[in-house]
């Protein structure tokens, strides 16, 4: 990790005792503990992975922890996002997660960013951290994370889930390969937890592996998963490691276009047009007075009839088509585009309640 002036006094006696079981490890020791206390780690996403990563980083004494997430706690999160309780429904995850880990270790400085990551705020936030942990459930933002980490020379610890399987890797570590070296294509359709389903234990275990890689990187010990993709299968209890190298690309990839994401609740504020890009007849039907339905398949043609200066809040079922729609409209000169997180289902939930 980079050198910097220590923000902690060299190990007060009182703190010594808290960490004694890990400083006893010859690979950690007091100097390792000092490295942890001096380190700054940004955790992107306080959902299932974040709820596993965050408490272990804080408990281990990672000195400064940033949490960025603009999402609120929902009842369907509670089975796997174990930092939260039923009386926190509707509260912002970033604040509640920060409160929880601060309780565990009040000495840790926790910085909260109550917003979703974009290519814009990533530019401002990333440079102040040593290490980035990707605990998101969003494939597109991963390219923003990757490209911004490359730009500022930050390693990032990747973790992601598909049902009972998880992937873990460390990208951009000491000049090692990046996410684009293994998955160069941005336009792809992959389900998230809401669509594919997930057990809390799966996401917890993968998050814990991410925290473990982060701690190893900070301490400079063990074998880091750089240039290696670990796939853990929790149904079969197998793990397999696949090796990969840097792929020379003819040109530097453009930083991903990223659009502001808003919650369904915010989307219903004001009278901006809610643009439904699903095909006609898709359930559930959303028909507010300010809803406009133009399926993605005909959007290119129909966009001629729209005013590129007004704001469009775009949604679909899962967030894949709405992003494609925003990219298409952006190329045509539309400037005021927002994506509604949670899509049609989240919009309707607000009406029912």
């Amino acid at each position: 990790m980079g050198t910097k002036s220590p923000s902690y006094h060299p190990f007060p006696e009182a703190e010594m005792n808290r960490y004694i079981r890990q400083t006893t490890l010859p690979q950690v020791g007091e100097s390792g503990q000092q490295k942890l206390l001096n380190s700054r780690v940004l955790v992107i996403g306080a959902g299932g992975l974040g709820c596993a990563v965050l408490p272990y980083l804080a408990a281990a004494g990672v000195g400064t922890i940033g949490i960025i997430d603009g999402d609120q706690i929902e009842e369907s999160n509670l089975h796997r996002q174990v930092l939260y309780t039923p009386d926190q429904l509707g509260f912002y995850k970033a604040y509640e997660a920060a409160a929880s880990i601060s309780k565990n270790n009040p000495k840790v400085e926790v910085l909260v960013y109550k917003e979703f990551l974009t290519s814009k705020n990533a530019q401002e936030i990333f440079p102040t951290y040593d290490l980035i942990i990707d605990a998101t459930d969003n494939l597109f933002i991963r390219y923003v994370i990757n490209d911004t980490c490359l730009e500022f020379g930050k390693p990032f610890v990747y973790g992601s889930i598909h049902q009972f399987q998880g992937q873990v890797s460390v990208f951009n570590y000491e000049g090692g390969p990046s996410y684009r070296d293994i998955f160069p294509q941005e336009n792809q359709s992959v389900p998230n937890c809401a669509e594919a389903g997930v057990l809390g234990t799966t996401v917890g275990l993968i998050g814990m592996l991410q925290a473990n890689e982060a701690i190893k990187i900070i301490l400079g010990i063990g074998e880091v998963l750089s240039g290696k993709l670990l796939i853990y299968d929790l149904l079969q209890n197998t793990q397999q490691v696949f090796e990969f190298g840097k792929v020379s690309s003819p040109k530097k990839p453009d930083i991903s276009v990223s659009f502001d994401m808003i919650l369904a609740e915010e989307a219903l504020n004001g009278d901006s047009i809610l643009l439904d890009v699903r095909e006609i007849g898709e359930e559930p039907e959303v028909s507010f007075s300010n809803t406009l339905q133009i399926p993605l398949s005909v959007l290119e043609r129909e966009s001629e009839k729209l005013d590129p200066k007004i704001e469009f809040r775009i949604f679909c079922q899962s967030g894949i088509r709405s992003r494609s729609a925003a990219e298409l409209l952006s190329k045509k000169g539309f400037q005021n585009l927002k994506l509604i997180r949670g899509g049609a289902n989240d919009l309707l939930q607000l009406i029912d309640t």
Partner: protein, 78 residues
């Protein structure tokens, strides 16, 4: 015999997590195009690993008895 492993959404599309194919002395690209069309994997994004090493360009390398091919899609849940 060549063992083929499918992960994530590719396993769902192929409706199995692994299978053995008897296609020794065929090129990697031929085997992949056969499997991709048999399981209708054309619309998915994935990387291919041979013997646990990801291959960035799908060459005309010949597969040998005992080789293992893996289909690795990106995951996105969390």
């Amino acid at each position: 015999m060549i063992q083929v492993k499918y992960f994530g959404i590719i396993a769902e599309a192929a409706q199995c997590e692994s299978e053995n194919i008897a296609e020794e002395n065929m090129t990697l690209s031929k085997v992949l195009s056969d499997l991709t069309s048999r399981h209708s994997l054309g619309e998915y994004n994935f990387q291919i690993a041979v013997n646990r090493k990801i291959v960035s360009n799908l060459s005309e390398q010949l597969l040998e008895d005992g080789d293992e091919i893996a289909f690795l899609p990106p995951f996105s849940g969390g």
